[in-house]
Symmetry: D2
Subunit: 350 residues, 4 copies
């Protein structure tokens, strides 16, 4: 049994992590920090937790960051971008595993890109140099040895898993890959704003940050790394009136002629050992509906009528495989647990 | 480890039961029947189950009812009203536990009421006479010895738990208790209809079957049994544009003067040993939001400005405490398992 | 043709008023004020108005309050509670009609009640003394002569219209009338907050301010005025996951025995001349779905199974009959226009 | 004043047409037919129309198709695909204008394509030869002289208006134009089905009929006609959890280098005389939210980070500009009315 800590526990990713870790068979103590709610009980901030956090080592009390780092064998950070470096360095020094949900460790040692898109510089470059991009289907071996793990963004997870076999196997043209994606509103986090005000997003479907969303460089970096060449990926996010889920509809030109059956077979084979990627049977279509509350990524494959353009639909729950669930998966790998521990929940039918 | 069977597995209650039983620590084999989909795989009917039903004793294949009864130590029936008698009798004869999700065994030996509201007669009255109404907070001791259990309706569960302490303790006037309740659309089941067609219920809030909903006699029977006198409960259901949840706002006149604090204390004390009833702290308001996907019933207490009318809000997930979860709770009691086995899921924050 | 002004035009009520007045056949000029957006164009705040505010006398430019009062023959105020007195006094002095959407003029000369519930005192009591409560079905003759009109609240409109015939005709017991009401989220206005954050209210149905909502004294005052005796009305609002609409389910004991048909006939007769109240045929149930975007109030009548408790369902669009539409109706009456001018829109089917 | 008829009035397009025509200043009589509901009153099928269809020449009674054709100067047909030919021929013979909402007259004289995608042959080829594709922004002059008008599909309207200037002006590469579109559920019509059952589509975003949707040939035909060369358009529809609206996110390679400002200027200029196309100011993003209930098509222009791929967002209300509103616009043109008559409604802010 290990003791886990969550820094910034009162954001949506923190609350979801707490829910998952609470039923993880290898987790003992759980400590939580919050700047805004320090001293309060988590169940007052999120009433769903009422009566559910009662067990040895779990008080549900929100303390400060230092107390969490001190008390934990592994630390999950759910702070806003740019604030994870200090705790990461402390964990690294103490030999603890640190998993960051923000973008701070998604760019390896490429400070320039981070700075260009997130507007912040790095102080402790060594921590970044030691970090691993936590997409298990791509970097499992590295994650197993990592101490600092940058948990991927939700859109990049969906896009990368949808394209990983095609790019690895050289099936896709790398110019003008279109990633048209829809996200539920929890992706915007817990802070109210005009765009997430119920009357302003219910019954509406709206693209946003076209050509300038911060997940763009992460997607391009990941896809280019997979392909071994610079990929021109064009990514457009949309806000959809739903709580959870990301559905990416991905278009690419075939690098060489292939039938849908061949494409399907290639994906099935590529992902045959992956516990959380489901390549759907031909004829079924991927949707966020069937992965909600689970760590699955569902992928369906289709061919455009022109016979030369593939269409891949890749769906995840943005809060699970796109955030907290993938973080737990990374923990499982890094600590040598069964990779599916604490992640065996079946998505509900409705 | 026991083997469980679900008859009528492809309805919503069946799909939810399958999800819950799949992660129940005491459950081994799982067999499923369906009239409409016999021979198909459950994961083709509900793609959320893809790759999730792989384990010894679980094939996910839909067979016929007899095969399910034969293979199981305990049988859950999710058939439409009026069809459970045969399997119940077979289980009773074979010493197996039978838990019925329909209304067939909610009226004990009172065939007249059942006939008046459901339009069907009984053939095997002995099975009905042997049955127990499966509301654990009311009938736990009886359930522990029962072989045929009638799982309560969703609205009646919410209403009965909201009123149980008040009626047992003589705090409420029994004339004109108003139960104004809203339900999510899953309560209508899986069969498409005009009233559940998305464009006809999205963005709308609509009462239905006012004064004539079939849960009325069940509510009155249960409340009257609790009070020891005939209760005049007026129940109005509404369809709300959401998937899961029932919220009952209940009004009754105080039988004797009491403060809100006294009422609160009485409820807290009454439910202090119940694992699934959460009496909320004063100042918090019960909502379906905080109980979704869990077996909790959340109750909040309020006083009208007139100081003589109590307002109780009682919320459940209609598919869990209102159906499949309560059925699992009944199984746990009837088979002597820990009552919370397989039901420890924490409701998600969003 | 008259010139209209809207003070506080960038709130939801203001935006809805602008939409209605823009197609009103008797309206010429339209001027708009906003504190937060002074100097901006309305179509930048609400892009739905793009290209739609182009006509003589309508610039869509947001100016200050004084300029609006100066330019207008009639002024609608959509300011927060407590801020309407100054403009009302100016209009009264200048012989202009002033219609206030806030609660400031809903209590006649009863400053004490206003102060108790809204926490503010009055400076200019004469303006209040001159004001009329703008519920046309109750006060049409007074409104026709009024210069200062307090537009009713949304919940009170729905409740009062549902009970007006019963109380006027002495059909209802006046103790413990239950008004259980659900509102769409636009009722909370345009300011984002945690309770109106999409992930916090989607898929949820939640009571709020139980026993303490500010519409309570307005409801009691109006109903008591109708009944000619103090009415004990218990009002519980709920937030429902939808944009528009209020549905009030109202319960009262019959003052004397009556059949549903008699009740129905009484309501039909009472409202036979009202252009905006539709008493539904027996067997139909009132819902916000059928009144959206219109000025209708739909009323359906039902009887509880006990035969002595009536159930009335009264539905309106909270932004139209519950705010902007009723304000236009009041304008029509006060200025001698056809009462339905600018309000003939048919609610959409979906 | 003219008399209008609606054949198949009880489908969603028919109900929307009735709503629009009821407030059209040039429309006198209105007659309605329905096969399923012949003899009933429209307001019993759609309670929103209660008390709203009372005027000379409008009974709201559903009669048969022949009676509608007989009574009308202009006939709108809202029948399922393949059934409009008879009434069209009758109107043509009688010199009446016929506007068809189905796909029957969207393919001119190209029976082969219609047959390939809709599986039906034509009997009366002359009617088809006489028909005009009713996209006013493309074919206004032809529509003005037409007697048989094929009203465009909803997706094709959105796609064509988003691409019309780019293709006409030679700004877009014509190979692999991606049209990724989301539609509200009213697009599926009034017939309940599993995919439109509330619990199956709420909170979900799901692509469907990928590579095989019937609007594909209509889109390709229209775009190719505009471009004067065969266009390879790849169209993927998605079902979004909302009632109204289509949002198409369109990607194409620039045929020659251009800045976003140049593209924007070209679109602004191209559409400067169009009453129903709003090219949004730079920086704003098109959404269905701002066009709902109106006949507007909102277009916003964007550039991908690669500087060589344009992204166009084109939004309409699928039931208005995508169906009933465009049909009224076509009527206005064909009968010489002001093109915006009956279509001046401003979209609501929420």
């Amino acid at each position: 049994m290990i003791d886990c800590g969550i820094i910034g526990a009162t954001g949506y990713a923190g609350a979801e992590l707490l829910r998952l870790l609470s039923s993880h068979p290898e987790v003992g103590g759980l400590s939580l920090s919050s700047v805004s709610f320090e001293g309060d009980a988590m169940e007052r901030v999120y009433p769903n937790f009422l009566a559910s956090l009662k067990r040895p080592g779990v008080s549900g009390r929100l303390v400060n960051q230092d107390a969490v780092v001190e008390a934990s064998d592994i630390v999950f950070s759910c702070l806003p971008h740019g604030l994870a470096e200090k705790a990461a360095a402390e964990c690294l020094a103490a030999g603890k595993v640190f998993i960051d949900i923000s973008a701070d460790f998604r760019f390896g040692d490429d400070e320039e890109t981070f700075k260009a898109w997130y507007g912040k510089s790095w102080t402790n470059k060594a921590v970044h140099a030691a970090s691993v991009y936590g997409l298990p289907e791509l970097n499992r071996a590295l994650i197993a040895k990592a101490k600092v793990i940058g948990n991927p963004g939700c859109y990049p997870t969906s896009a990368a898993l949808g394209l990983l076999p095609a790019l690895k196997l050289g099936l896709a043209q790398t110019d003008r890959i279109i990633i048209d994606a829809a996200s539920g509103v929890t992706g915007a986090g817990r802070e109210p704003s005009k765009t997430t005000h119920y009357p302003e997003c219910a019954d509406g479907y709206t693209p946003y940050k076209i050509g300038e969303h911060r997940h763009t460089p992460e997607i391009i970096r990941t896809l280019s790394g997979i392909a071994g060449t610079e990929v021109n990926a064009i990514f457009t996010p949309h806000l959809a009136p739903m709580n959870r889920g990301i559905v990416s509809t991905i278009y690419f030109g075939l690098a060489k002629p292939a039938t849908l059956a061949e494409l399907h077979e290639a994906y099935l084979h590529f992902y045959s050992g992956e516990p959380f990627v489901r390549v759907l049977p031909e004829g079924m279509v991927s949707s966020n509906r069937y992965v909600k509350f689970s760590n699955y990524c569902d992928i369906s494959l289709h061919m455009a009528h022109d016979g030369k353009t593939a269409i891949i639909v890749s769906s995840i729950d943005n809060m699970v495989k796109g955030a907290a669930g993938q973080a737990v998966q990374n923990m499982n790998i890094a600590l040598g647990f069964n990779e599916t521990s604490g992640l065996t929940m079946i998505p509900p039918a409705f």
